[in-house]
């Protein structure tokens, strides 16, 4: 069941015209900073992890209005509930599909962003590993925010306000991944978000 739902979500995301938006946003944000901060390579390399993480966080929020709201509007959620399919499963599949749709292209674009910011290879490798560990949490938070704001007009802006404070641990451990133990804390933050996310999102979707 989970597999069927996940496969369907992946097909829908991969056919969506907005598929490339998060990764393009990510690269553009990384490209803007050298223009804004100036061509000081040492400064850029020092703030690069912060830039990359903020860009990744914002990129994960770009499709938040299309994560669950259309399903609520077009009756898909009704059909799933009528079939006795747990909304927790639906949300878990959606988190996995959202991660695949935004984090994997983003990891693929990381070398480009790294070159634009003058990051050396070892740092880029560490950032890739940190992103791999931390992006599941971002996907989970985005789906929860999408569920909470589904059915609201202009829910996207509100979703940002919901996610940004909750994403702070991921941001802190992700940026500080050169400190001992940061990877473990990052993985822990991801696991907590992944464990709570499907239940929180499903609770938000349950009809009153």
């Amino acid at each position: 069941m989970l597999w069927a739902l996940f496969r369907r979500d992946v097909v829908l995301i991969s056919r969506s015209p907005a598929l490339w938006l998060p990764v393009m946003f990510f690269v553009l944000a990384a490209a803007l900073f050298p223009f804004a901060v100036g061509p000081d390579a040492r400064l850029l390399a020092r703030i690069a992890p912060g830039i990359i993480w903020v860009a990744a966080l914002l990129a994960s929020l770009l499709p938040v209005e299309t994560l669950l709201a259309p399903d609520l509007d077009d009756g898909t959620i009704d059909q799933l509930i009528t079939r006795g399919i747990a909304l927790e499963l639906v949300c878990a599949a959606r988190i996995a599909a959202h991660w695949l749709g935004f984090a994997v292209p983003l990891l693929a674009a990381l070398p480009v962003a790294g070159v634009l910011l003058g990051v050396d290879f070892a740092t880029a490798q560490r950032m890739a590993f940190a992103l791999l560990l931390g992006t599941p949490a971002l996907a989970s938070l985005a789906v929860v925010a999408g569920a909470l704001t589904a059915g609201l007009k202009g829910g996207g802006a509100l979703a940002g306000l919901i996610v940004l404070p909750l994403a702070l641990p991921v941001l802190i451990f992700g940026v500080g991944s050169d400190v001992a133990g940061a990877f473990r804390l990052l993985a822990a933050a991801s696991l907590v978000a992944l464990a709570v996310g499907p239940f929180a999102a499903a609770a938000a979707l349950k009809p009153a």
Partner: protein
């Protein structure tokens, strides 16, 4: 094939307003119940209660079998071909083998390759009914199933409903006017 549906002294509140109370009815296998009444008296809400999409304020619904629901929203993704959409739901229902017959029954086989956004509202409605047929659930919950259907499609729907009841299925439908449910009980709301 199936068990009876019992609605016992059901009450429903929406937005702090009591929509209806004391609603009781029974549908036996092969039977049908038509919900009639003016707009806004709770026909669709009663169907959503039966589908498990809402919780009643009081009373109980006795039925433990599978249900298939066709509401106002058709749950078809605009960019996907109709056949792919229906196959997805049929797969969730374990009814892929029933799908071709269901699509034939509602005369939408020729539309299988058409993206859903290009379908007319009547064609979407036929697709939603085909999904109900393919679900293989004993209890059908239909919200104004003939809305937007031409007379030929309405006849197809009547035939599908008759076949379902002949096989021991149950139907509850919110209706305005006759939709071809012979010998159906009526429940008047409002």
């Amino acid at each position: 094939m199936s068990e009876a549906l019992e609605i016992i002294d059901l009450a429903c509140q929406r937005g702090g307003r009591l929509l209806f109370e004391g609603v009781s009815a029974q549908v036996v296998p092969g039977g049908a119940l038509q919900l009639v009444g003016p707009n806004g008296t709770g026909k669709s809400t009663l169907l959503r209660l039966l589908a498990g999409l809402l919780q009643p304020a009081a009373g109980a619904i006795r039925y433990s079998g599978r249900r298939a629901f066709a509401g106002h929203e058709v749950a078809l993704k605009p960019r996907q071909p109709l056949g792919v959409e229906l196959a997805h739901w049929a797969r969730l229902d374990g009814g892929l083998t029933r799908l071709p017959a269901a699509m034939t029954a509602m005369n939408i086989t020729a539309l299988a390759e058409v993206p859903c956004r290009l379908l007319s509202s009547g064609q979407r409605r036929r697709a939603a009914i085909a999904r109900v047929i393919a679900a293989g659930a004993p209890l059908w919950l239909l919200d104004e199933p003939t809305a937007g259907l031409d007379s030929a499609s309405a006849a197809l729907l009547a035939a599908a409903m008759a076949a379902h009841r002949a096989a021991g299925g149950l139907i509850v439908a919110a209706v305005h006017g006759d939709i071809g449910l012979d010998g159906a009980a009526q429940l008047r709301l409002g």
